[in-house]
């Protein structure tokens, strides 16, 4: 057992070294740009996974929190000249607060209603960004967002941006990993399996859901802050409802509740559209077909391809089936 642990640690370290050495190995600005996007989208997918995958509360308004973070960070940075690292924290805090205020009433709903509510919320945020011209400059978007400055170095090149984005991603991934292995994470898993059973076990279901929602929103906000200071220009067209769908499909493709799966899926769904850029006209069409095939295909999640996990998931499946049979519910 201990040996296995060492192997995992060594593999993780090797992976980290490989990831951090990408700017040294690759000089193409285009590839580095995609790498930065992979980092940002991975943050988004992992954060959505916390509420949708782990806790089972499907939210389709994640792009809204991403947008709130991006606008919050950009505006704070431009108007008050606050250093970038603080901007990220402020963006995360802002998104988290909004997430909490929305989450308190919204998470009383479940299933389809929650989906509708979050879709509506996402659209509302987009329309506010579009129409509150005095603050957000409406459809013209915000231009000239300052580049981040870290340790007195101005982040300019694609390689530097990649290192920053990767670091942000690693921090968030570690936080999420620890959440999943904490009491809070186990509570969330219990809520996903059976809400009423979780409640009878003394888990304060609504409170835990709201916290998970707020944490998830805060992380999306941090990703937004990264995006704003990377693109240097943001407009409401980035944060449309379709983008929420893309993030959700990353989570679903990667397997609900599996963080490594989300990262792999985010990478795939960022790289595949880029590879299809030659077929620009048919890009979205192929993407749609991909979504359908993914759902209709047998192995929906990566989890079932990992041998150890497969057994575990089979066990759970048999158990849940058993319990449900006893209840007499299909």
């Amino acid at each position: 057992m201990r040996q296995k642990k060492y192997v995992t640690i060594i593999l993780t370290l090797l992976l980290m070294i490989l990831l951090y050495s990408i700017p040294v190995l690759i000089s193409s600005q285009y590839v580095l740009r995609i790498c930065v996007y992979v980092c940002i989208y991975s943050i988004l997918a992992c954060s959505l996974n916390l509420i949708a995958g782990v806790c089972g509360q499907i939210s389709m308004g994640h792009a809204a929190f991403y947008g709130i973070g991006a606008y919050g960070s950009a505006l704070v940075c431009i108007n008050y000249g606050i250093p970038w690292v603080l901007c990220v924290l402020i963006a995360a805090l802002l998104s988290g607060m909004v997430g909490m205020f929305i989450g308190i009433p919204a998470l009383k709903l479940s299933g389809g209603y929650l989906v509708i509510c979050t879709v509506g919320f996402g659209e509302l945020v987009r329309l506010i960004l579009l129409n509150w011209v005095s603050l957000t400059r409406g459809p013209m978007g915000i231009v000239n967002i300052p580049r981040p400055v870290i340790f007195n170095t101005k982040i300019k090149t694609g390689g530097q941006y990649y290192i920053v984005a990767l670091t942000l991603f690693v921090i968030i991934y570690i936080i999420l990993h620890n959440i999943l292995n904490s009491k809070f994470g186990r509570n969330l898993k219990a809520i996903k399996e059976d809400e009423i059973a979780a409640e009878t076990m003394g888990i304060r279901v609504h409170r835990e859901k709201v916290i998970a929602f707020a944490v998830s929103a805060a992380m999306a906000g941090a990703a937004g802050a990264m995006l704003a200071h990377y693109m240097l220009f943001i407009s409401p067209t980035i944060f449309v409802g379709d983008f929420s769908t893309t993030i959700l499909s990353m989570v679903v493709l990667g397997g609900m509740g599996s963080m490594p799966g989300s990262v792999i899926a985010a990478t795939l769904l960022t790289v595949i559209p880029e590879a299809l850029r030659g077929l620009d006209k048919y890009r979205m069409l192929i993407y749609g077909l991909l979504l359908i095939c993914m759902m209709l295909g047998k192995n929906v999640s990566w989890e079932s391809t990992i041998p150890g996990r497969k057994l575990a998931s089979m066990k759970t499946a048999v158990l849940t089936k058993h319990i449900k049979n006893r209840k007499g519910v299909k």
Binding site: G112, V115, C117, G120, F121, G288
Partner: protein, 294 residues
């Protein structure tokens, strides 16, 4: 006052198209508990099919209209057969179906985008700009046709749901799918029929909506989607009369907001109403409270 009446008529016309589209959402949710994201795209497809048949193929409008409606209905049923039924048979979780409907929606929208181009096209209409005076303000023939057709369709639909055996099967499915299956009703058939009727009604709404705006483009589905969604929830999801009521209310509020507050806010009202309803009374105006059994 005269303005107010004119706005009311506009609101009712808009609300009628919402109401017809809302029925499809409501029925599918009632039976499958699924938010069908393809439905708004079906609205667009219906409008375009009529455009293709009437303008590009020169088929007379009176023939093109039922033809496009039936074709759209079949498309809806085929879509259900290909994407929803396999998932239902495998007992996959709801979110898989949800993403599947989103995928279908993307495919259909981009297909029409590729076929028809992105530009807005002039839509054929009946009785060009003819209007009659009612109580001192103008009502166009198209507006009257829209409201009358909607009312007739709603009456027919109510009779179908309440008086026929198939309608009874649908109501039974909405209550308890498994028990209905045990009673010898083919649930697969009922679901297919539900998609057919919902899509056909959406096509009627699409054609009539485009006739009153006199234009069509690929994004009309997305524009109407969330609003009809809002009306379904407002009226009570799963209860089709609620969907109709919600559609009329959303249509009226939208027009009043555009008239009295500012046209920038017309798209926001639907979402504000949607979120308020979900927070205050998630079951909607006419919805029944669902008890969770353990």
């Amino acid at each position: 006052m005269r303005n107010f009446l004119a706005y009311t008529v506009n609101g009712l016309v808009l609300g009628s198209t919402y109401a017809l589209t809302a029925i499809g959402y409501s029925m599918v949710y009632g039976i499958l508990e699924l938010v069908n994201f393809t439905h708004s795209t079906i609205y667009m497809v219906g409008a375009y099919l009529f455009y293709i048949l009437a303008v590009l193929c020169h088929i007379p409008m009176l023939l093109a209209f039922p033809l496009s409606v039936i074709l759209t209905g079949i498309l809806g049923a085929v879509n259900e057969r290909i994407t929803i039924r396999p998932l239902r048979a495998k007992n996959r979780p709801k979110f898989a179906m949800l993403i599947c409907t989103i995928g279908t929606s993307i495919v259909l929208q981009n297909l029409f985008f590729l076929l028809m181009g992105s530009e807005t096209k002039q839509y054929p209409t009946i009785a060009e700009n003819k209007a009659i005076m009612v109580l001192g303000f103008n009502v166009t023939i198209v507006q009257i046709v829209i409201v009358v057709t909607t009312v007739l369709l709603l009456i027919a639909f109510t009779l179908f749901i309440n008086r026929t055996k198939m309608g009874m099967a649908m109501r039974a499915c909405a209550q308890d799918t498994e028990a209905t299956e045990l009673m010898g009703v083919s649930v697969d058939y009922v679901v297919s029929l539900t998609f057919f009727i919902g899509s056909a009604l959406a096509a009627v709404a699409g054609v009539m909506g485009c006739m009153s705006y006199r234009s069509v483009d690929c994004s009309i589905g997305a524009a109407i989607g969330t609003k009809t969604f809002a009306s379904t929830v407002l009226g009570g999801i799963g209860v089709f009369t609620g969907g109709v009521l919600g559609g009329l209310i959303i249509g009226l509020t939208e027009v009043y907001t555009a008239a009295y507050i500012g046209s920038n806010y017309r798209n926001i009202t639907a979402f504000v109403i949607l979120i308020l309803v979900l927070f205050i009374k998630p079951t909607g105006l006419l919805g029944k409270k669902v008890l969770k059994k353990v």
